[in-house]
């Protein structure tokens, strides 16, 4: 059954144009769904809407976000916050800005376990220590006492991943978690997320613009264009035969490391015109 089910979600900039158009997607328990599209296609917006961190200028105009059978949009804000805090987590895009510069790593992992989930400080600290081991940080005891500026970007992203898994959430939104990292680190971080996801059986909504990442980590895939889901497929099916002409062109545009001389294949103008028309009228 679906742990997260987004139904006919539409959102827009207050007094402006639409950002999400009638978006529906499901993430089953323990399943990984990739969310791909160009910049500005609204893929991050979906994750933000689920977690309740949409910018103030964005309003949801219709639809439902069912989390574990409860419509989040129908809940009062305080209850929604606690429900999301207890069952979901975010792996943010930029590890350099996602840790509080004036607080030690340890408390940044343990605070929410103590404050929101009511754990004892000792249990939370043991958990943090174990998790840092799990994300392959050497000398975890020392790292827990350090400040973010003393650690590298890769280290910080490992810490944020550890923190996301700390409370055994049912769903994690990973918002382009490797985009801000060095290419050599990207692969390690991706492997790490995939391994932890399998071990903990966490459902994952993986926002990315990288189809290569999708093929490695995801089972399901939603392709977005201008706030509309143009294709919803199993990943294996998508790579064999994409259903929508736009997703086929997107797949063709992915650079091939096996054939670097082929160059880049931009999405053809005709395909873009067609998908624009479809989104505008559909």
């Amino acid at each position: 059954m679906s742990f997260l089910s987004v139904r006919n979600l539409s959102a827009r900039v207050k007094g402006g144009g639409p950002l999400l158009r009638d978006v529906s997607l499901d993430v089953a328990v323990g399943e990984v769904r990739g969310l791909v599209g160009e910049s500005g296609a609204g893929k991050s917006m979906i994750g933000k809407a689920v977690l309740g961190i949409l910018p103030k200028a964005v309003e949801i105009t219709s639809g439902q976000i069912m989390l574990d059978g409860v419509d989040l949009l129908a809940l009062p804000p305080a209850q929604r916050r606690i429900k999301v805090g207890a069952t979901c987590a975010l792996i943010p895009q930029d590890p350099l800005t996602a840790l509080n510069p004036s607080r030690r790593i340890g408390v940044q992992i343990t605070d929410r376990l103590v404050d929101i989930l009511g754990w004892t400080r000792q249990r939370a600290e043991e958990r943090a220590l174990a998790l840092l081991g799990e994300v392959q940080i050497t000398e975890p005891t020392r790292v827990l006492r350090q400040y973010p500026h003393e650690l590298s970007g890769g280290m910080r992203q490992r810490i944020l991943i550890a923190s996301a898994f700390a409370a055994e959430p049912k769903l994690i939104v990973a918002d382009e978690p490797t985009t801000a990292l060095d290419v050599t680190v990207q692969k390690q971080i991706l492997k790490l997320i995939a391994a932890l996801q399998v071990r903990h059986g966490t459902a994952l909504l993986f926002v990315t613009h990288d189809l290569g990442v999708v093929s490695k980590v995801c089972q399901k895939l939603s392709v977005l264009y201008a706030g509309k889901v143009v294709e919803d497929s199993a990943v294996a099916d998508f790579f064999r035969a994409p259903k929508h002409p736009y997703s086929a062109a997107l797949l063709a545009a992915t650079p091939k490391y096996t054939d670097p001389l082929a160059g880049l294949q931009p999405v053809p103008e005709a395909v873009i015109a067609a998908v624009r028309a479809e989104v505008a009228h559909g």
Binding site: L51, R81, I82, G85, L90, P92, T97, P101, R103, I116
Partner: protein, 336 residues
Amino acid sequence: MALLQTLILRVITTAVTLLGVAVIVFFVIRVVPGNPIAMMLPPGATAEDIANLTAIYGLDKSIPQQFFIWGTGVLGGDFGTSITLKQPVLELVLGRLPATLELSVLALVMAIVIGGAAALTGTRLRETRVEGGIDVAQGMALSVPDFLWGLVLILVFGVLVPVFQISGRVTPSLQLPFVSDFYLVESLLRLRFDLSLDLLSHMLLPALALAIPLAAIIGQLLKQSLKETMHLDYVTLARTQGYSEAKVIWSQALPNAILPTLTLVGVQFTFLIGGTVIIERLFSYEGLGNMAIDAVINRDLPLIQGIVILFAVIFTGVNLLVDLTYAALNPRLRHG
């Protein structure tokens, strides 16, 4: 090692600053018109009387000579004797300093509490009418200087609704058991809360007059940094973890947003101490500022010099304290 170097450098620059202040004050008050001897003698004194008295105070010597005599005395802890009050300057100044310090610190605490509360409320309720109201109030608080606020407060809480004292430091008829000049601190330590209340009743309005403009500055700057911080990723991350907006502001945004405000508070606190001069006069509060005005009116040269040097020491001391606090609060400045 780096810290020690910084500290030594600070001590040296502080010494140079104080020397500069001493030189300027010493020369300026001797060059401007008006002379203490003329204030002391009755009309019709003979030229001989004037010459005698001038010689007694050493004012017949050249200004550099006078400076040398005074300077060597200061290095040995002797700031001279007040011409009008006939007492050692150091004793007089240190006797009045606690009154001014208590008033300034109370004003600072009030400014931080009022300004901090305004900033936190404005951030929590940002983009609402409440924030707009706070902005308007702060604009008003800023555009009126502290002594005018003093007059307004005297009129409202001293005359129209007389709930607070508007003159002096303490009710004169009270028996004071104090051994130090820190009346408020000592009354609290001795658990004589009746005296504390009387002292506070006298201090509240002058402290508030000093605090209002500073509170507005703190409120504006802190709210600005808080609002900027609220957009940052770690704040957003804390929201997804289930923290309430108020808790996010308090424990995630505030510790980072407070740094620029802290620097400003240090600078502004020295202005606030400067403001005590006129505010103490307005409320007849027996502090250093009130004494400074009397000293200037009477051309009491040694006393003016002593007070100005003391103010300069306080200013540089406050700035040093701010720098050290800044380093303590910002982990990125600690190593390196």
